[in-house]
């Protein structure tokens, strides 16, 4: 296949909302879900004469993002005007940062998903602050504009062209989102436009020194679309080159319905943004002590938590990577352990299978879909002490998801506690042995396979609550006797 002769060169520009209460330059709510044009004022509507005033918390969150990505924080950065016309852009320019961004350099380290694999570092060019635009709603024959989102603070995180595949782009995005959530800079909700991605893609013959001509793909609002769009675009470019054609430098839109990219019709002049320093905002000066204070207050980052899980809890790299994909998941796991669990890997697997399954099935956030972490912990503690079986724990967990009740209460309510009392188990065994005399004779005659049948009968007689370990021991003794 010719595909192997090429390699893809991919760079991502990720825009993410910063979790502030108010907008970047005015006191309107930055919240999601208000009625149309409710969260607007003269400033974010671009009325004549209005002026921007910077939100301090947005700056702090952007610095936090920069520090988490190992960037250099510029002591002085500049806001610029980026000029273009679009109905959702009230001033005819976006206040952004161009020549002197707040954060420069840095990198994102992708977790190694298998033992011994080297972690990949994707270098960043910059992280800069900017304001979001409003939202156009397309109807037949007309478009409608809502400016609630206009002026919501964003950071744009620009990577170097270090990404080599769709999978790697996905891994980068997941790690980036995880970091942003850990530091509480962004909730990374793509469905609300809280995280958006533009992709630059080119291909070149393996070993070539020069980059090929790149295309830009816009309008990607899910990780899956990013991966699919890259796969599609890489294949499209290779096909063109193989056919002796040339790649046109253009901007494409991802069509999620047909799963293809198509060139944009408008924005033919969009490349001349006429950036110049925003005269309404003096330079953004960040004193070193502010950076130090933010650094000191930084929460643990996913990479650090991952390393700790492997080092201190004995998890595999893969388990640690899954648990740190999401700040809430990692926190859930650690809270479970606080119940006094000794078997960390069992707890990890519980989170990766049972907890993630209910979250995915419910399609709701962890906090809504799963029981309290401490109750999950208590439940596993019951398994560790032998009070209930692992299967019973799964049954209890399903019930707890619905009822919201605690582990002990649920186990009691459903009568899931195991019977380990030897007297009760011995009685059940005697009953089965008496009832199945013929089979007992066969077993004693050498048909060992029948042992399972007897276990099943005893469990049945006990309503499934017999401690399997004890049942086995006693039954074996009695049958051989």
């Amino acid at each position: 296949m010719s595909d192997n002769a090429y390699e893809a060169i991919i760079g991502l520009e990720v825009h993410t909302h910063l979790m502030t209460r108010s907008k970047l330059f005015c006191g309107c709510s930055a919240g999601f879900g208000a009625g149309p044009n409710e969260n607007v004022c003269p400033v974010c509507m671009g009325m004549p004469g209005v002026l921007p005033v910077l939100n301090r918390h947005a700056v702090e969150l952007a610095i936090r993002a920069g520090l988490a990505a190992h960037c250099e924080i510029a002591p002085e950065s500049i806001f610029d005007r980026k000029s273009y016309f679009y109905p959702d852009l009230p001033k005819g320019y976006q206040i952004s940062q161009y020549e002197l961004p707040l954060c420069k350099g840095g990198y994102i380290e992708l977790p190694a998903h298998s033992e011994g694999a080297e972690p990949r570092r994707i270098r960043l060019t910059r992280i800069h602050m900017e304001e979001d635009a409003g939202k156009n709603i397309h109807e037949s024959g007309a478009s409608l504009v809502d400016f609630n989102r206009s002026g919501v603070p964003l950071v744009e995180i620009v990577s170097e062209p270090d990404i080599r595949s769709a999978d790697e782009a996905g891994a980068y995005l997941r790690e980036l989102r995880s970091i942003l959530r850990y530091i509480e800079a962004s909730d990374g909700k793509m469905e609300e436009g809280g995280l958006r991605c533009d992709v630059n893609v080119s291909v070149r013959k393996r070993g070539a020194a020069e980059f090929g001509v790149k295309t830009e793909i816009k309008n990607l609002n899910s990780f899956r679309f990013v991966e699919k769009a890259i796969e599609h675009e890489v294949a499209r470019q290779i096909d063109i080159l193989e056919a002796g054609g040339r790649i046109a430098q253009e901007t494409h839109l991802w069509d999620p319905v047909r799963e293809v990219t198509r060139p944009m019709r408008s924005k033919e002049f969009a490349n001349d943004y006429r950036y110049f320093p925003e005269p309404d905002l003096p330079p953004l000066r960040v004193p070193p002590d502010l950076v130090e204070a933010i650094k000191t207050a930084m929460p643990e980052l996913p990479a650090d938590q991952r390393a700790r899980f492997v080092r201190e809890l004995g998890l595999t790299a893969y388990e640690a990577a899954v648990l740190t994909q999401d700040r809430d998941l990692g926190a859930y796991f650690e809270t479970m352990l606080a119940a006094g669990l000794k078997n960390h890997r069992t707890a990890a697997n519980w989170v990766m299978t049972e907890v993630l399954r209910v979250v995915n099935e419910a399609a709701r956030p962890l906090a809504d879909a799963a029981p309290l972490a401490i109750e999950s912990g208590e439940l596993l503690k019951l398994v560790e002490t032998g009070a209930i079986s692992l299967n019973a724990a799964k049954t209890a967990f399903a019930a707890m998801c619905k009822s919201g009740k605690g582990a002990d209460a649920t186990v009691a309510e459903l009568g899931l506690a195991q019977v380990s009392d030897e007297g009760a188990i011995a009685a059940a065994c005697d009953q089965v042995i008496a009832a199945e005399a013929a089979k007992v004779a066969e077993y004693r005659g050498g048909r060992d396979k029948l042992f399972g049948f007897f276990v099943g009968q005893v469990m049945k007689a006990m309503g499934g609550k017999g401690n399997p370990k004890v049942v086995n021991e006693i039954l074996k003794r009695k049958l051989s006797g």
Binding site: P42, M45, G46, M47, P48, G49, V50, L51, P52, V53, L54, R81, S83, F85, Y86, P87, P90, K91, G92, Y93, S143, V145, F147, S266, N271, D272, R274, Y275, F276, P279, D280, L281, P282
Partner: protein, 486 residues
């Protein structure tokens, strides 16, 4: 006497109102009467706010009666139609905003309201403050009260003419390249452009954000000082606004300029200056010497480059500032079947020729391939011009210059030649580029009876110094204010 109330200064009216010699309503009525009488000849107003003004005056009378009169209680002012006034249409003299009614007040408007001022109307101007003659107005040119065949200067020509014609006691203007000082000079009134950042720009429709500054027109320097004290000060809505405390400018008017060093830049006295202007300026300088000031020859070597640098910086900023007029959220819209055409047609129909010219120039100097050669070059020359003033103020306290090389020119005279129009601002524009305060006061009349203006430039935040110097000259009584020819 009611008919004469509108001729008073703010200081006189303030005292008269305090003594209850007359009411704010009477004072406001006198101004409205004068507008009725003279405005058809000079067209100083785009919108006269008779109803609102009388309501404000009635409120002022109540406060005066209650003995809690704030600084400008009951004082009728004209407001350049560039200030957002809640509930009163604000056009910026453009067809684009012909029916725009802001839902908010500019900060200085809110401050004036709090100070009890009465807004008599919205004054005419060059569209979006782009011009030096107030001929570029979608609502017709304003005419000079001293001679209606002449321009009042611009862009705040309506404000200056309204004060000169006694249609109000004072007025608000804005100054980006001379738009307060030039009309003050042409109309024979006092006008001050404060230091950049001294007064909030919030709610002032932007032309060139790094140059625009708010300032008052008045019949005397004292009145200008009174108005400035209310206007100036920190505003949390303007990130470029200074937090420095505001001095009592009126208290600075001691009349004493002894020992003051007045710098006279040699570059401002050369070819192109009308001899009568030079004579009047030299006479004013001689007065200062008699008052005990010292004249110092200084040099501002980059003066000749100021207009070129200005038309890069100002138009670049304007091209972005005026991008918001797109027919989507407010203002004029010319319908089309797609948004691109809607923009093109709306903006073609809504903006006048001079505005289009400056938007085009500004977009060009910022466009790919020209940024360094033009925009960046302009910014660097701006640095050189600031440096000139820094060096000069090491040797003097005030710089005195003519405001313009000529007196008011004829209506239509420069309309066909944009560059000639731009050159009217040759003596005022450097001050904006350097962000300095500049005061324009009348210092004489030419043989046609047209006023001549003296410009007093101060170091950053030295408004007190230039106001003191201006007031001291005014006190000599050399220039008695001539009633406008109406």
């Amino acid at each position: 006497m009611t008919s004469e109330l509108n001729r008073m200064t703010i200081a006189e009216a303030r005292d008269g109102l305090a003594r209850r010699d007359f009411s704010a309503i009477e004072l406001t009525r006198a101004c409205l009467e004068q507008i009725k009488l003279v405005d058809p000849k000079i067209n100083a107003f785009i919108t006269v706010c008779a109803h609102e003004a009388l309501e404000q005056a009635a409120a002022a009378d109540r406060r005066l009666a209650a003995g809690d009169a704030p600084a400008l209680c009951g004082i009728p002012l004209a407001i350049k139609d560039i200030y957002a006034t809640r509930g009163v249409r604000t056009t910026c003299a453009s067809k684009m905003l012909e029916n725009f009614v802001p839902p908010f007040d500019a900060t200085v408007i809110a401050r004036l309201r709090e100070a009890g001022a009465v807004f008599i109307g919205k004054a005419n101007m060059d569209e979006f403050a782009m011009g030096s003659s107030t001929e570029n107005s979608a609502f017709g040119a304003t005419r000079n009260p001293h001679n209606v065949e002449r321009v009042p200067g611009g862009s705040s020509g309506g404000s200056a003419a309204a004060v000169a014609a006694d249609e109000c006691l004072g007025a608000l203007g804005t100054d980006t390249g001379g738009s307060i000082r030039l009309p003050a000079a042409f109309c024979g009134v006092a006008g001050i452009k404060p230091t950049y950042s001294r007064v909030s720009r919030y709610g002032v429709i932007a032309y060139a954000s790094s140059l625009d500054q708010v300032g008052p027109f008045a019949k005397t320097v004292r009145d200008a000082a009174i108005l400035l004290r209310t206007l100036a000060g920190h505003d949390p809505h303007d990130s470029t606004c200074s937090a420095r405390p505001v001095p009592d400018y009126e208290a600075a008017l001691t009349g004493d300029v002894r020992g003051m060093r007045i710098g006279v830049p040699k570059e401002y006295f050369g070819a192109g200056m009308e001899p009568q202007v030079e004579t009047a300026i030299r006479a004013a300088l001689a007065s200062y010497e008699r008052l005990g000031a010292t004249l110092v020859e200084i040099s501002l070597p980059h003066t000749e480059y100021a207009i070129a640098a200005y038309y890069i910086v100002a138009t670049a900023e304007a091209s972005a500032n005026l991008a918001r007029y797109d027919g989507i959220r407010y203002g004029l819209r010319v319908e089309a079947d797609n948004t691109g055409e809607l923009y093109n047609r709306t903006r073609a129909a809504g903006f006048g020729a001079e505005v289009k010219r400056r938007i085009m120039l500004g977009a060009f100097v910022l466009s790919a391939g020209y940024y360094d050669a033009y925009y960046l070059k302009g910014q660097k020359v701006r640095t050189l011009i600031r440096g000139d003033f820094d060096r000069a103020f090491a040797r003097c306290d005030v710089i005195a210059t003519p405001v313009a090389p000529t007196t008011a020119f004829k209506i239509g005279e420069k309309m066909a030649d944009p560059l000639q129009m731009y050159l009217s601002d040759i003596f005022t524009i450097s001050v904006n580029l350097a962000g300095l305060p500049g005061l324009s006061i009348p210092c004489g009349f030419d043989s046609d009876g047209l006023p001549i203006g003296l410009q007093l430039i101060g170091a950053p935040f030295a408004e007190e110094t230039i106001l003191r110097a201006g007031d001291a000259f005014e006190r000599t009584g050399a220039i008695t204010r001539r009633a406008a020819i109406l």
